[in-house]
Subunit: 243 residues, 2 copies
Amino acid sequence: MHFTSDTSSEGVREQLFTVGDVPGVLWTPEDATTPRPLIFLGHGGGRHKKAPDIAALAHRLVTEQRYAVTSADVPGHGDRPTDETYDRIATENQARIEAGEDPAPLIAAFQALVADQTVPEWQGVLDVVQDLPHVGRGPVGYWGVSLGCGLGVPFIAAEPRVAAAVVGLGGASASAETARKITVPIAFLLQWDDERVPRPEALALYGAFASPEKTLHANPGKHGEVPDFELDDTLHFFARHLS
Amino acid sequence: MHFTSDTSSEGVREQLFTVGDVPGVLWTPEDATTPRPLIFLGHGGGRHKKAPDIAALAHRLVTEQRYAVTSADVPGHGDRPTDETYDRIATENQARIEAGEDPAPLIAAFQALVADQTVPEWQGVLDVVQDLPHVGRGPVGYWGVSLGCGLGVPFIAAEPRVAAAVVGLGGASASAETARKITVPIAFLLQWDDERVPRPEALALYGAFASPEKTLHANPGKHGEVPDFELDDTLHFFARHLS
């Protein structure tokens, strides 16, 4: 683990770091010195570890719940170089979708390929971050929608430290098979008018989780229009399961 | 309005009353003297105005949010005499359902008949309760699931004082037509394994509300198994819209 920056603002300490090739960020309360719950945030497609939605959620988790929050750039995103293989597949998929092909299996195959890389990367981030005294080995939560759901479901299934997760804006064809292995509490976000994930696909993914406690929150609007009040619900959900 | 009882326990004042033939209950903070938000609770089928789920929710709304809460017995329920017409129809419906008939249209027709009576009754309860100085003319919310949804949807549609509502465990064939007239914020509870309301029926009712803000909360389990944490969400929902 190599730190590249350590700053504080409005009570939130932000440490930028790399673990191998993976650029990450850690947010903690400025005065934190002891172990606490840790939330891993998975960013969306074309975004990065400090995208506005990620930073805003991190700020609230740190200031309102005094959690530690970490995120990492997905390959080909943020501070990482373009990945030629992923880039080529993404370009090919885009062309096939524009030619009328069903996007669901293409996205599913692509996300599975990327997850083979990100699951061990994110586990490596948890390892080093939990070695820090102001993070420690407390309970771990995961939050990620859209690409953060596609990569998050395999991460949650593979990583026994994850004790509760908020996911969503994803579909069954990409993630249902893996979701059937997950038993931790899940909050699942669905956009009723999602132009990218057909409603039956999203409902079927919610249905696939084996978790005895899983709650679906649906709201009107398109893929990118999750209402702000779901942030409050996310904080309540993590407080219920990790605090 | 005729009061029949006035008691206090654990900071909650409970007044029992009648308005015409309708027995009602009003819960307020023991020390309340000024106007405050008012929640009308619609009870479930075969239950009554002080059923355990109603009393528990009322207690939390009063003690945690200092709201006023009121409920009334539906005809044929609680302290009201058996209604021979309703009773006869319910018995006939039960026999038809046992003979294999689709229950949805039977329930829909029955609830529409009862709502023709309960909508003006509940409006009358609001009138007299809001005349009391410790309730006053603050914002009004509605909460009701199952029968409380079937009777609640016509009430919300008819009553402009209702500014936000929690409903659920109901289906489109009973309530969608009226739900299309409703535009206030709605939280809708759905049980994923509801043995009484088919899932597509419930999803279609959520979809029918014209409300720009409407949020669907689905959870695993049968009709009567709404998880306790939804009570927290109900309190947050009313706080967001009425406080």
